[in-house]
Symmetry: D2
């Protein structure tokens, strides 16, 4: 089962820039909102400031911008888990308007030790849950 999570996003004036379009940096906020809500479906809340010994940080971002969004646009931000490593989770994500993909790319988050900041292995149960969302050929071993 490959489960794509999708979140509606309205463009407010806070998101735009003097070019009259959504400031390209702000799409990353939309993408993170979608990842956050996806992770919430796994019972993971406040993963950036976890009380456990670890938390998640973004380690890689790769995005292509195809078309701009504008003020008041009603968009959708999507997130699907594309790979699960020992200490990392990869997401494929998009922002789209109607049938047009405006922004697409890949984000990797890493599980790090709260004290040292060094990568640390994902909790085994969480890893199992995340892997269960991957299509068979996508599993990373």
């Amino acid at each position: 089962m490959t489960a794509e999570f999708s979140l509606p996003v309205r463009v407010y004036i806070e998101d735009t820039d003097a070019g009259g379009i959504v400031y390209y940096v702000n799409y990353l906020k939309y993408l993170e909102r979608a990842r956050t809500e996806l992770m919430r479906t796994f019972g993971l809340e406040r993963a950036a400031v976890s009380d456990a010994g670890w938390n998640f940080v973004v380690s890689e971002v790769s995005l292509s911008y195809k078309e701009p969004a504008r003020l008041d646009d009603q968009l959708r931000a999507t997130a699907v888990i594309s790979a699960v490593g020992g200490a990392t989770v990869n997401f494929h994500q998009t922002v789209s308007r109607d049938d047009s993909v405006l922004v697409a790319g890949d984000i990797q988050i890493a599980c790090v030790d709260r004290g040292t900041g060094r990568p640390t292995r994902l909790d085994a149960d969480l890893r199992k849950q995340l892997e269960a969302t991957l299509a068979p050929t996508e599993k990373v071993t």
Copy 2:
């Protein structure tokens, strides 16, 4: 001695909105940069995340917007301490371009206990230093 602190600020695209002007919310960031640098002159760093038992939070904001700033404008953000209370410090602040004041207003910060979030008295030495910058008639007792 009334000491006005002044910080140069360049307007980048990140600061603007689709109206073609600086997004009004972002002036508060400029004002905070000026307050931060002013407080640094008193040896206060990282006052929002202090390792001491207390930190500063903003408690009151009152601003008037007179003229807009635009992309690439070279501005100045100023901060002067206007009053010192038992647990609060008031600043009068402006953002200006050349001789025009674009935004002016007053910001109050409160010293709060890190654990409880309740107001707590300013450190006596710090208070003395801050009061020393007030004009005689401005002193709060």
Copy 3:
């Protein structure tokens, strides 16, 4: 009829700061989202970048911060029109969590000529609509 508009707001990591709380500047974004949706109920869209000869800009902000919000909090941002002037509209606004008001204050927006940036009278029909939401004693003449 005094109509309070209310919008649910989730706190994401983008909204927080190193103090572990919502960065106080970002409440202004929540408040604007509520005003935007309120104005949309009057048929006003994209009021900051209107194709008409005028648009709205924020002219006054006055806010009190009472309690902090934190990551993942589910908040409500409210907006109610408190006064309508010749070229201005005043809103009373809050951000709350459950029964606690975290932030409260008043925002004034001004109708300005798109070319000159000078204040210009509100469209008469719009003004009538906005005034109709005021309680009788709040009407400004």
Copy 4:
């Protein structure tokens, strides 16, 4: 001649998140400030809102995050032109603290027609200037 442009950046509370570090999205703002100042050395101002028939938009972002920055850190954002295409300019960029590179990556901007939003060829003179900064082996033909 390969010319690296470098801009000092101070971390303010506005840049941080509840994880106690710089919010990863905000490094993109630092990188853009460096690109903006680099382009200014070529006489290009307000390139995102140019009055000419074209402007620049970001088309590709690829970043690796190695170490976090924290409140009050004094950082450097760098930008060097790594390739010049018919309608695109590529930059290699970093954010560093002392001798540590915290974030590194590549950003591509595209020249687009202001009316249609479609890619359009770089101005020939500008292209020549930009290419002159490339090392011989980096020239794209």
